[in-house]
Symmetry: C2
Subunit: 211 residues, 2 copies
Amino acid sequence: MEEKEISQAVISRLPRYFRYLGDLKDEGIERISSQELSDIMQVTASQIRQDFNNFGGFGQQGYGYNVGYLYEEIGKILGLDKEHNLIIVGAGHLGQALVNYMNFERRGFIFRGVFDSNPAIHGMKIRELAVQPMENMEAFVKENDIDIAVLTIPKSSATAVAEQLVSYGIKAIWNFAHVDLNVPKEIQVENVHLSDSLMKLSYNLASHDTN
Amino acid sequence: MEEKEISQAVISRLPRYFRYLGDLKDEGIERISSQELSDIMQVTASQIRQDFNNFGGFGQQGYGYNVGYLYEEIGKILGLDKEHNLIIVGAGHLGQALVNYMNFERRGFIFRGVFDSNPAIHGMKIRELAVQPMENMEAFVKENDIDIAVLTIPKSSATAVAEQLVSYGIKAIWNFAHVDLNVPKEIQVENVHLSDSLMKLSYNLASHDTN
């Protein structure tokens, strides 16, 4: 597939296509028209065609898309045909929840190590992974070909830890700390700011309140 | 403040403004120009002014915004001047992590009850909350003036549980289940699809890979 710069808005929609196509596949559906997909996903058929045209259109014909092929192609575009090695920094409740969530592994995101600055929990097992001290991180990242670091640590330490990780060769950060990281442009960062999401819900609740 | 329909893109940026203004306030900074705010937040000053103009502009004058006032006003717009009563449905690792995250309470989001379909964990305490059976949910929602439900349950049960919650009078759902809920338009839904976020990171990693 030829590379061109795709907008982040399109990228943001790809996982949702992938999810719906996976469901269709599980239901044994082999072909689907953009109109049918549009009805299920509640986006316009023209949006779907436009989005897919960014990737060559996926061979839409009169009778629609091949579900299995489309699912696989979008998976490849999302990089899901390769395994990723992850570490989690911060073994609190959220870090533990992520390590325990098996669906990530099914998609090829493998948690290799867990790190925490609190000596009281060093050696504690989360699934089969023993929590390690931060001092082990550099060697571990280099020896285990870690490409993604997940930050589930407080805001106060996130910026410094992110800088360390970058210096160890990490290429991508999945950031749950409630702060915007300041890392070089070539490092990919995806933020999950849970408080921001909850506040947005609160806004919509307040602004639609009917009393 | 007069109500008008504000775009979701603007709404999505409000919590970030709120976060930066909170930090500035904590640092003792009382005034800031849109240009200074623009430098810190890495958005254009014109974007900031446009966003704020949706809410009357917040009295920007030659010498800039009053940080404390702006923080408070954006907080009000986000509905943070009121308390919200929440329940969590699904007491797995993620549900437990959310209940244990104190920052939500500091913002007025109070977890009142935790529910799970697994009898083995009924009565288990998460902070001071005992996990309750699903059968208690209807009465609990009505008696405790619950307005927000947090769904941390598997995809397979999320749709049905969301419908139940709506019938009990819930007005907003913070959905972590990996499915798009099908609820009436007047119910506010905010999705946190963690897998989608990780896939987006994976895409950006794959498409910027330099080998």
